[in-house]
């Protein structure tokens, strides 16, 4: 049995001082650098959300002017999408876990990994500069011609920040792909990989194939704005709709960059807390790849009202429906894994259950939007806002928090307060639904998004939403507090506090700098719960 002893030498005490962190090449320390970064930008983005919900508590625009409001929702979106949701799970949990889960000592390119973090921070600095020098009011989508000729806000520094941060994403994806191909331990075959690895592999493909197109699109916008080059400007025969095509060619797949790693986390959590192998492993694995591939073929469903042809709209509508198939495969297989499993309701599992329910709602309302007729009715209303917050907040952030709790003992070597954590999970679930469910109704009734004032008959639902947001905000502050507290005062964690299988639980908590005392050799299948060896070792 495992005992709760701190290993004498581990990655956290292998060198002290600021340079041992800022110049580290250890993927685990770089993951913690990212954790600091994404947490900071999450709360910045969250602060903008608080101001938005405060403004919308009353029908008249009284707290901020309409121009300020434009900047608030723009900067909320930019911060959350580019500096939190895209890097959160891959760069924190993926960075920490991918080498350990496949039995490697590090990512394939450790210096590149550190460079990715610096690139991310430099990009974030430019965008933050844009925020403090007047803000950005184009919406996170930078639609032309507003962003190129009309907007007087800080478009260039903000766009430059996103351009730079994109390279961090590209290099992280590249690093993961090479690592998963080249660095697997002996015996770690493709179909013994944890599903977390499969989903990160699929995510990396999108990062590598999609992000460069965003980069060139931003350059085109910048060249048009700064040098008066003509690409999208109707004055010289350019087409603003072309910008939308290029932008969504990246930015639709980007939502799969945000959700696929979350799905990988959920596969791990469901297996660990149901004590069963994930039902239909190869289907779940290939569903990740299918989502990545199909995700590149659906972008124009963001443009049904932008003047694309009816035939194009029909094709993109059908292709969008297809994405539901691999997504549903995952939801059904997680549910089937729970069926007759020995489910224990610890905090990470609460988040996993929350994810499955909320992602299902978010996904199914996505099908409404893939249907051209219905989409035209709810375009640019709160229905859209509710839909993507169910996927991004109800899905990705739920999974991120679940994963952070699940691997926290491994990352920090300490246990958090389970009681507080369960309360926080319940508060977040309640606050989330209270915030965003009314927005489905508001949107269906016709309340447009991106306005700081609205007709009085929408006030009740808006007040409910704002009340929910304040509860949600408290829910997010709680883990911040008790996880930080546990770093110093938490009980020491054993090597495998959950009795889970997987290479990360075969090493110490926290792991040594080289991840394992002895290079591992894999002789078992993934999620080998119930096999005699596992029963003997963990008593499960």
């Amino acid at each position: 049995m495992t005992t709760a002893l701190v290993p004498p030498r581990h990655y956290l005490n292998d060198g002290y001082g600021i340079t041992s962190w800022l110049l580290t090449r250890d993927h685990k320390r770089i993951a913690l650098l990212y954790l600091a970064g994404v947490t900071f930008f999450f709360f910045i983005g969250g602060a903008f959300a608080v101001l938005i919900r405060l403004e919308l508590a009353t029908p008249v625009g009284d707290l901020v002017s309409d121009e300020t409001y434009n900047k608030l929702f723009t900067m909320h979106g930019v911060m959350m999408v580019f500096f939190f949701l895209i890097p959160a799970i891959p760069s924190v949990l993926g960075n920490f876990l991918i080498p350990i889960m496949i039995g490697a000592k590090d990512l394939a390119f450790p210096k590149l990994n550190l460079a990715s973090w610096y690139i991310y921070m430099v990009g974030a600095a430019f965008t933050t500069y844009a925020i403090v020098t007047g803000g950005l009011d184009t919406g996170w989508t930078f639609y032309t011609p507003f962003s190129t000729v009309a907007s007087t806000s800080a478009v260039i520094p903000a766009a430059l920040g996103i351009f730079i941060t994109g390279f961090s994403s590209i290099l992280t994806g590249l690093n993961f792909i090479i690592t998963i191909h080249q660095m697997r331990a002996p015996g770690m075959t493709w179909f013994r990989l944890p599903l977390f690895i499969w989903s990160h592999y699929a995510t990396s493909l999108i990062m590598v194939l999609g992000t460069p197109v965003l980069a060139i699109t931003i350059l085109l916008v910048a060249a048009e704005r700064v040098f008066h080059f003509g690409f999208f400007d109707p004055a010289v025969g350019g087409d603003p709709v072309l910008f939308q095509h290029l932008f969504w060619f990246y930015s639709h797949p980007a939502v799969y960059i945000m959700i696929l790693p979350a799905m990988g986390v959920i596969s791990e959590l469901v297996a660990a807390f149901c004590r069963k192998p994930v039902y239909g492993y190869p289907f779940v694995a290939f569903a990740s790849i299918a989502i990545a591939v199909l995700g590149f073929l659906v972008w124009a469903h963001h443009m049904f009202v932008a003047g694309i042809s009816v035939y194009a709209a029909m094709i993109f509508s059908i292709l969008s429906f297809l994405v539901a198939i691999p997504s549903a495969v995952k939801v059904f297989n997680w549910t089937a894994t729970m069926y007759k499993g020995s489910v224990s309701w610890q905090t990470p599992m609460l988040y996993a259950i929350g994810f499955i329910g909320l992602f299902t709602i978010g996904g199914l309302t996505g099908l409404f939007l893939a249907a051209v007729g219905l989409d035209i009715h709810v375009t640019d209303t709160y229905f859209i806002v509710a839909h993507f917050h169910y996927v991004m907040v109800g899905g990705t952030i739920m999974a991120y928090l679940g994963g952070l709790h699940y691997w926290w003992p491994k990352i920090s070597g300490r246990l958090y307060n389970e009681y507080l954590a369960k309360i926080a999970a319940a508060i977040i679930f309640f606050g989330f639904n209270l915030t965003f469910f009314p927005q489905f109704i508001l949107g269906y009734l016709g309340m447009p998004r991106r306005y700081h004032a609205y007709p009085p008959e929408f006030q009740v639902l808006n007040v409910l939403s704002s009340a929910g947001a304040s509860i949600l905000g408290i829910g997010y502050l709680l883990p911040m507090v008790y996880l930080t507290w546990s770093l110093r005062y938490g009980r020491l964690a054993s090597d495998n506090p959950w009795g889970a299988v997987g290479l990360e639980w075969n090493t110490t908590s926290p792991p040594p700098t080289a991840n394992f005392a002895e290079p591992p050799e894999v002789t078992w299948e993934a999620y080998d719960y119930g096999s005699p060896a596992v029963v003997e070792e963990h008593g499960v």
């Binding site: 590249l174 090479i178 080249q182 460069p212 197109v213 080059f229 003509g230 010289v236």
Partner: protein, 220 residues
């Protein structure tokens, strides 16, 4: 230090088992990077394809403003630089230090000639008021759409030139590594993957030249 402990090659990083494995990872890494580059330029090529199909006459008229002679010379110069790069890689695999350095310097010199000729072309476009924007001058019929062509021309060739300048940086580092003896016959992969990069930059030009310079030339 741990490298010394297990008696391995000094260039072997701690997290790889062998130089062979390390080389495979680095080579695959460069190929994946080149895929991202294809997508990066791909956005430009897609934009080009759409506007050329919409405005074929303006694109042909604009293309005739480009200097085909200088473009052709540049194409030959760049292809020759790919040859010298390939010879540098070959020399690296044989561990011939002097030859690697000679061929790397030759590659950079040819790249320099290319950029020099490119600057002359840019200067001509500047004096002929062919920079898109308020000062743009062109035959009245095509003055709007020609600006899209020249916007694409400057961005595509400009980004290509930027990639060449980055290539110079890479080659300077390689020269330094060869000079101090890091590169040997058994550890030649840095030169090989630098070569991959340079060939890619070359190939981009092979597409840019006909797309930008040769529109409608066969008709004359």
């Amino acid at each position: 230090m741990s490298d010394m402990a297990h008696g391995a090659h000094p260039a072997l990083a701690h997290h790889f088992d062998s130089l062979e494995e390390q080389k495979e990872a680095a080579t695959l890494g460069m190929w994946v990077f080149l895929v991202t580059e294809v997508l990066f330029f791909g956005g430009l090529f897609a934009t080009y394809a759409i506007y050329r199909s919409w405005y074929p006459d303006a694109f042909a008229a604009s293309s005739h403003e480009l200097d085909v002679t200088l473009g052709t010379i540049n194409t030959a110069v760049l292809i020759t630089s790919s040859l010298t790069m390939a010879l540098a890689v070959h020399a690296a695999q044989l561990g011939q230090r002097t030859k690697i350095m000679v061929f790397l310097v030759l590659t950079m010199a040819l790249g320099g000639v290319f950029l020099g000729i490119k600057s002359v072309e840019y200067y001509h476009k500047f004096t002929e008021h062919l920079i898109p924007g308020p000062g743009f001058q062109f035959e009245k019929e095509h003055i709007r759409h020609a600006q899209i062509f020249f916007s694409l021309y400057f961005l595509m060739t400009g980004l290509h030139a930027l990639h060449m300048i980055i290539g110079f940086g890479i080659m300077l580092v390689m020269l330094w590594w060869v000079w101090r003896g890091t590169i040997t016959a058994e550890y030649s992969s840095p030169i090989e993957i630098s070569g991959l990069y340079w060939h890619f930059v070359d190939i981009v030009w092979i597409f840019l030249f006909p797309l930008l310079y040769l529109i409608g030339r066969h008709a004359h």
